[in-house]
Symmetry: C2
Subunit: 449 residues, 2 copies
Amino acid sequence: MQFELTKEFIEDIIDAVEKEDRSFLIGNMKSLHPADIAEVLDIVNLHEAQFIYKLLDEEVASDVLIEIDEDTREKFLESFSTEEIAESLENMPSDDAADVIQELSESQQEEVLEAIKDEDQTSEITTLLNYEEDSAGGVMDLDFVAATWSWTVKKTLQNLREQVDNVGQVYTIYVVDDNKKLMGTLSLKRFLYASDETLIKDIFQDEPISVNVDEPAEKVASIMEKYDLVAIPVIDKNKVLLGRITIDDAVDVIKEEAEKDYQMASGISEKVESSDSIFVISRARLPWLLIGLLGGILGAYVIGIYEIEIDKFPIMASFIPLILAMGGNVGVQSSAIIVQSLANNSLDFDSIAKKLFKELLIALFNGLICALITLIFCYLTENNLKLSYTIGLSILAVFTYAGLFGTFVPLILNKYKIDPALATGPFITTTNDVIGLLIYFTIGGALYF
Amino acid sequence: MQFELTKEFIEDIIDAVEKEDRSFLIGNMKSLHPADIAEVLDIVNLHEAQFIYKLLDEEVASDVLIEIDEDTREKFLESFSTEEIAESLENMPSDDAADVIQELSESQQEEVLEAIKDEDQTSEITTLLNYEEDSAGGVMDLDFVAATWSWTVKKTLQNLREQVDNVGQVYTIYVVDDNKKLMGTLSLKRFLYASDETLIKDIFQDEPISVNVDEPAEKVASIMEKYDLVAIPVIDKNKVLLGRITIDDAVDVIKEEAEKDYQMASGISEKVESSDSIFVISRARLPWLLIGLLGGILGAYVIGIYEIEIDKFPIMASFIPLILAMGGNVGVQSSAIIVQSLANNSLDFDSIAKKLFKELLIALFNGLICALITLIFCYLTENNLKLSYTIGLSILAVFTYAGLFGTFVPLILNKYKIDPALATGPFITTTNDVIGLLIYFTIGGALYF
């Protein structure tokens, strides 16, 4: 059964570090999965984490180094010598080693690469470092199992025994021609059924789903998700098999994208976690606050124009929060639906005009309900028909504007290849605040003042 | 290579349906993956989709039926006879069949189950229907490959040949004792190396990571993600192996959770897609709008209390949008970070008090910057020191309140097992609007009026 981290366990561990009770710590860590050890190291402080890390077996230590938080790893690496880093990287799959080494400065990268004793590992890491971090090449690993199509089943089986030794997990056997060009895949089922002398070219499945090495990682993840794949082969422009991407890496991409969208919608401009430092979190939050500040100042300017009217009809000021809240909510709702559909590639081929028309109907439908409620409330409490019409009509107008704007902006951003998630949250809310006020006072000027 | 859906392709397909050009459609669909056919059927209209569906091979049709949108499937099933539904379900993996059958009314479910001719399939579906939809049991499939630990490698290989015939994809070979209790797993690597007469009990790995059949699906997905698993065995309370959950189903759970959180934060109360009907989308968006409306009306009431002061100092009204925008943004930011940490189980064991203190420092840091900017701006444009102090101090106070409230609410909701995603978005924004106004006018009363 998997391990459940408790506060008591952490306290025992911290206690053991304090008492330098090595045998307790070694015993406990032996019983844990590297991912669990990483979780422990992320929670305790740096000194405690390093004390425990030094007690781990070499191979386990490398696995843990891959799994811990980037922040913790950064601090760990700072305290390691070049040789220690090189040793850890030797024990890792080359794709993880390439990810870790990228966190070092360029001069340090070179030093570490030179210090790695296993030449194959150095050359694999160097190869992987050539690809963009968020492309298929940057996510793939080189640990696949391949059979040449001219081989017999018997020869393939012998060959596989050697290959699987170097591969973490075998999902699919890829079939290549004599020039390493990807031709297809071999299913375990057909392989187990075939007789020893059968040729691979007679039992493999052609037309494999594959991705080009330059494909964005996000696209790769959505292909794997769509076709329910656990691994996908990566090829170059000549169809030569270069590596494979496994589902665990794709899951990371999917989660990261979803979290980024969520944070952007919440006005947080870089990926942060609650455990990050106060300075990092503050910095991530400040940009949108400044945009909101600008919007608020613009709003003050708009209201300033109508100072005389507010002086005459101070009740107009009372409904400012209502108008702003409605515009903000409608804008965020409409843009969120579009952003999510774009992220899922689930948008149909309807034209932008058709989408705007649909949003118009939704905005009018909800707007009419909210406008009517407000109109009746306003008339009952203020007994002022002109004011009630002004508020009701403003709400309807703000709904329409905010809904259309919230739909339009992400679609346009997407058309020009800008991440539409930028559109939701504070940007839409801020713009809607200013425009909403203009609409409100314009209608007030026409009907009421 | 995978298929890229284009507008031209869809137009050709629609055209072919109109001309009843069956051979063109059959030829085109033969070259597509079921997931791609489903994508086509989701885009064309219902009549066209049904025309194409009837042309598909029985097995392909079942695969497509699993992949299409729930809405489209619902309409498809309505137009099918009980026998037609039963036939489709016979060709599906039993876990997919159980998912589809759950979309029917209870009386229809019974009719369909009776109409299925394959008794094994009926009993598997009935078994699966007993589990909660969002529990491990509701997500698992029954198509695993198992070896009894007293078998030899040779016997296992023979047995596997029979078993793999019924299983979509083999990821892991599970090892059970004579009572079907899960004992461990068998790695392909060790299996390939072992001699024919080796006993499974001598080469299997014990202590497998498994989940109980009642575990929530979300928990299962996060375990699979943490340990990078492609499949996880599901056991009952006696450790008897019941089924397995594969990574593609876990990915669906992960994506759905992330989307739900994002939609909740955007004030959309039920899962909708841009292709849903105007009525469905409007209904999902209305609840939060009504809450926003209530907040706006409360806000109007608060401002109404200070009508005389606004009459005297109309400039106070101008800065209402600024105060509201700042409170809303800070509240959403702070709650988003907490909600995301909770969703990732990446919260440390710091006490609530410690977290609030950290947020306090962040709020004060950003608040001071924004307050200073506003104070200077206000003094330069209005040349009124008292007003400038009022605005600046209000911003600082609102930052502090909104940051603490945004942190506190999701933590408390989580403590009482309520989904903290509820806390972000409109609820926090609405509450902050009302409290923000009270803070603003109270400070105004103390410093300015």
